[in-house]
Amino acid sequence: MAPTTETFRCMACGHEYEELVEKGVDRERQCPRCRSNSIRQLKRKPAPDAGAGGSAT
């Protein structure tokens, strides 16, 4: 399966960054700025429903 780009936030320094994540690959996470391991993967926002509020054309 192709890796996906996920967004992470460091809970120590607040730094947000993106990283390629491969499904099934288990890797220790570390903030690239402060090297803390308090890394939270931010949830993807659901894609806006194409049917709702679409263009009126």
């Binding site: 120590a12 288990d26 803390s36 308090s38 939270r40």
Partner: protein, 607 residues
Amino acid sequence: MDAGRHPNIELLTFSEVDDVSGYVGNFTVRIRKKARYVDPTACNACGECAKVCPQVRPDEYQMGLSARKAIYIPFPQAVPCAYVLDMESCLGNIPIACGKCADACEKKAIDYDDRDEIVTREIGSIIVAVGADVYDPTQDDEYGYTRFRNVITSMEFERLICAGGPTGGHFVRPSDRRRPTRIGFVQCVGSRNPRLNRPWCSNICCMNTVKDTLLLADHYPDTENVVFYQDIRSFGKGFEDMFQRSKQAGTRYVRGLPGEIVEDPATGNLHVTVENTTAGRIERYELDMVVLSVGVEPPRDLARISGLLTLSKTSDGFFMESHPKLKPVDAPTRGVYFAGFCESPKDIKDSVCQAGAAASRAGALLNAGRIRIEAITSRIDPAACTKCGLCAQVCPYGAIRWQKGEVATVVEAACAGCGACGATCRSGAITMRHFTDDQLLAQVRAVLAHRPEDKVFVFACNWCSYAGGDMAGISRMAYPASNRVVRTMCSARVSEEMVVEAFRCGAPVVLVSGCHYADCHYISANRQTVKRVDRLWDRLERLGIRPERLQLEWISAAEGQKFAAVMRRLEDLRRTVTAEEIALTRAALAAPAKPAPKPARATAPQE
């Protein structure tokens, strides 16, 4: 050879372990005996089949420096001494189209219809001795290995100088089969190289090169040898003496690895440029041959073996032992032991020592007929168990037996006591002996009973983080005195309720700390910690509590500095948490937790 003849040893060659189930003293191992296409009991190794075989392939044992036939004996002194048919190389993979070997075999030992056979064995203990692989310098074209004919590896050197090798022990160089008289050895190829993701020392290469230079000095006294090295690691009995003898025999040791190797196309000679860091100057050498002293790496199918036996690996990719000092041959899975390279690079003497120790450990276990376990295993109350099976899912040892609709049970002989199941169980049916919920919650409450606002509350795992704190202390590292540590065997033992209770008791900051991923002493239990902390961040956020007040860190036993740095950072964080914020947190957590909002259901399209 002795093992092959021993009445108490069943030797299954050309076989592979397909599956391992059970636990210490009661393993069931399924083994695939691969088809040889030659009956080893009938074959008398006369070699008539190989003489008529028209298929020629590079001989793997001779590092591709000579050829073998499709039907062959893999190496001299192979046990059993019988031919094997490489079906992938056999003519057109349709043997009946050729059949010359079968015609030539007087014993009628060749069977083209041979198939893999599956056998099972009941095993009490398992010794893992799968060895290691050798670094392949073609990957990065190290020192022109793929371009220059006279750049060879130390493994190829071994075959070239061996009396049983492709040249019968006559040492020649590949380009013109002339005997080289100026030979350079380059150390640490594929070792101690973070750029190649191989930061480890391979342990054996220095002394192997010293041995090679002595061999050359003995066989060909007119040979000039130059060794390019970072530093020679000649520790061990008699090794320093051997190194000194190599120098006395005329081998020149240059401290510095070559920056460039260029081939003279006319002669095949190699021009080596190196910075001699001892002399502080650039030196150039013209050599007939360069030998790359290649390092070792974990075997390529290590992940498969790791999965079969639920073993864990250290950061360098080799198997992790149960304890580096006190249990150096035991795997984290009870009843499994290590011998040799698969645990870490080591020489023959160390491998023999470790193999002897592993055999003794396995023998002692089997002779005793019973095992003693630490009183920290988990226990399931069948009356309270809701039969959800979550505990079985998170157990890294497979020590919990569960089937849908049935109460879970613990195989205590296999349980290591990490506590991941206890922290996961929602019905409170699991008790971790000596680390019960009540005991840990009582510690939380006691620690935070007075002036909780002044404290940083720390959950630390027994093996790494707690030891990291010890290291910071014995190293006299300065860090704020505000932290209060509660020890659990594994960070996975820390349940959501324990963290919530700490905040409820007024803790401004809570840290959950454990081993680094590669160092987890319970195989992969700390992955459950990550999931739990993730859920807690979500929960705190929903309740209007700053999620940053819960922190997660991996701190190894050697990282006293990191422990001190984290404590300093958390003290800074603690100072930002106001009394009002703590009071609001207490109020938010005092109320029953609000369920997570359910995602809105998609409405059916209206007609």
